[in-house]
């Protein structure tokens, strides 16, 4: 089963997404950017879903750090600030979603990045 890491500081969002995604994926969660990088160093992950506004280490910095560490899998960023999302593409994001979005939109984004049948989890080198 493909592994997805979700990082969001909002417990409600995290719980909901985890419940929905764990029907099809192996889901790990993090409450901030630092935790996300920790989870990533613990084992391979196929896709990262990253909120931008998080304490300790925000999504943008986490994105930069995870790309620097050699993580080559897909990254979807999400935020309630549409104006902040554009520049995350340059930082290495593959897709972004503006909150509030439909779960179906997230599913479609995941399916684009994790085609069925593709194998092999990417992890951070560091």
């Amino acid at each position: 089963m493909k592994r997805i890491l979700i990082a969001d500081d909002d417990r409600g969002i995290l719980e909901g997404m985890e419940t929905l995604l764990s029907r099809r994926y192996d889901v790990v969660t993090a409450r901030n950017g630092e935790e996300a990088l920790e989870r990533l160093s613990e084992g391979p992950v196929d896709l990262v879903i990253l909120d931008l506004l998080m304490p300790l280490l925000d999504g943008e910095s986490a994105l930069v750090r995870l790309r620097e560490s050699g993580y080559g899998g897909g990254v979807i960023v999400m935020s309630a600030h549409p104006d902040r999302l554009g520049r995350t593409r340059q930082l290495g994001a593959d897709d972004f979603l503006v909150k509030p979005f439909e779960f179906r939109e997230l599913e479609r984004a995941i399916e684009r990045l994790l085609p069925r049948g593709s194998r092999g989890a990417a992890s951070a080198r560091a």
Partner: protein, 358 residues
């Protein structure tokens, strides 16, 4: 606008007392006259302001725009209107609205007369409202996203013939309550300005304990909250004259900040110490602190520390300003001492109730 029939003293007095910064320039745009209100505002002499001297007071970022805007009206002798920042005697730049009209009669052009009105507070109010609206949108979108996720959980459960468990409804309900709380918080913040106080004798010690108890019972809905340790130290009774509702809101706001800016948790201490003529409440946290250069502006609405980017600490930046206003309206005040990465100490002084039992 042409030479007046009244005595010179009269019109000069009127001009100098007018609540407007008035000037006059010749047909080339060189200003030769400034009324007393202008000179009091800039704190400079007529000689210093004369000609183009006054332009030294225009904010460097606005100087060019202002000058360019004047070129055409000067050539066409047309009225003009412009907003720019002008340096006040205390060194602060204030937004002014300037309007100028040409003075001319049938065969002669005398130049322009103009007046500036200080619109700084109004303009800042507008900017604040815009910033508040943007933040409100963000603050509301987050619980909305959670609502959407939980609704989807239930929809999928129902679609596949599973039961929607009471827990699913509870989770949804938590998010709806959160939205409701957010809306009342926002309204409350907007309210504080307009509220008139209905003071009665209030036991500040009991009030603080109430505020703390609410925090302690609150389910932790943001990560790390449970890592905070909130304590009260002080007497059982300390009376002030005040309005308990607004005082409670103000202390709630201060505790909000203490929690929010201590993302790694730690002790938050609320201490009450009665003094000669006032009661002093000190709130100490072990959070990220406020850089020294930011300290003069912390009381401003929508201020946030330069070490607290919005991306790491979402919020309106209203807590401290609103709280400070409440304490001031109670005849007291608020002071901030802080060290980056060590924590912040907020000191609130409130006058003792004159009728307080010894």
């Amino acid at each position: 606008m042409l030479p007046q029939r009244h005595s010179a003293t009269d019109s000069a007095t009127l001009l100098d007392h007018a609540p407007l910064l008035i000037w006059r320039c010749d047909p080339d745009g060189h200003r030769g006259y400034f009324n007393e209100t202008w000179l009091r505002f800039t704190g400079r002499s007529r000689e210093e302001e004369r000609g183009e001297g006054w332009m030294q007071g225009v904010h460097p970022d606005d100087a060019r725009r202002r000058a360019e805007l004047f070129v055409d009206p000067l050539r066409r002798l047309a009225p003009f209107e412009v907003e720019y920042r002008l340096r006040r005697h205390d060194g602060l730049y204030r937004w002014v609205l300037e309007r100028g009209v040409p003075i001319h009669d049938e065969d002669e052009v005398h130049g322009f007369v103009g007046a500036c009105l200080d619109i700084h507070d109004r303009r800042r109010g507008e900017e604040s409202r815009e910033a508040a609206l943007r933040m409100m949108a963000h603050e509301l979108r987050t619980p909305l996203q959670a609502v959407k996720m939980h609704v989807e959980v239930m929809r999928r459960a129902a679609a596949s013939g599973e039961v929607c468990t009471p827990e699913m409804f509870d989770r949804l309900d938590v998010q709806i309550d959160r939205l409701g709380r957010l809306i009342s918080d926002l309204l409350r913040t907007g309210d504080l300005h307009a509220l008139s106080l209905h003071k009665v004798r209030v036991n500040l010690a009991a009030l603080l304990k109430r505020v703390i108890a609410l925090r302690t019972d609150e389910p932790s809905d943001s990560p790390g909250r449970s890592r905070h340790h909130l304590t009260y130290r002080g007497p059982e009774r300390a009376d002030v004259e005040g309005e308990s509702r607004s005082l409670e809101q103000a202390f709630h706001g201060l505790l909000d900040n203490a929690f929010k800016f201590s993302p790694r948790g730690g002790d938050i201490e609320v201490e009450l110490r009665p003094d000669q003529d006032h009661h002093r409440v000190t709130i100490r946290d072990q959070g990220v602190g406020i850089p020294e250069e930011d300290l003069p502006s912390v009381g401003r609405r929508f201020f946030r520390g330069s070490n607290a980017p919005r991306r790491n600490f979402p919020g309106l930046g209203l807590g401290l300003a609103a709280a400070s206003e409440v304490f001031e309206r109670h005849g007291g005040g608020l002071a901030v001492a802080s060290e980056v990465d060590r924590g912040t100490e907020i000191t609130v002084d409130l006058p003792r109730s004159p009728a307080e039992p010894a």
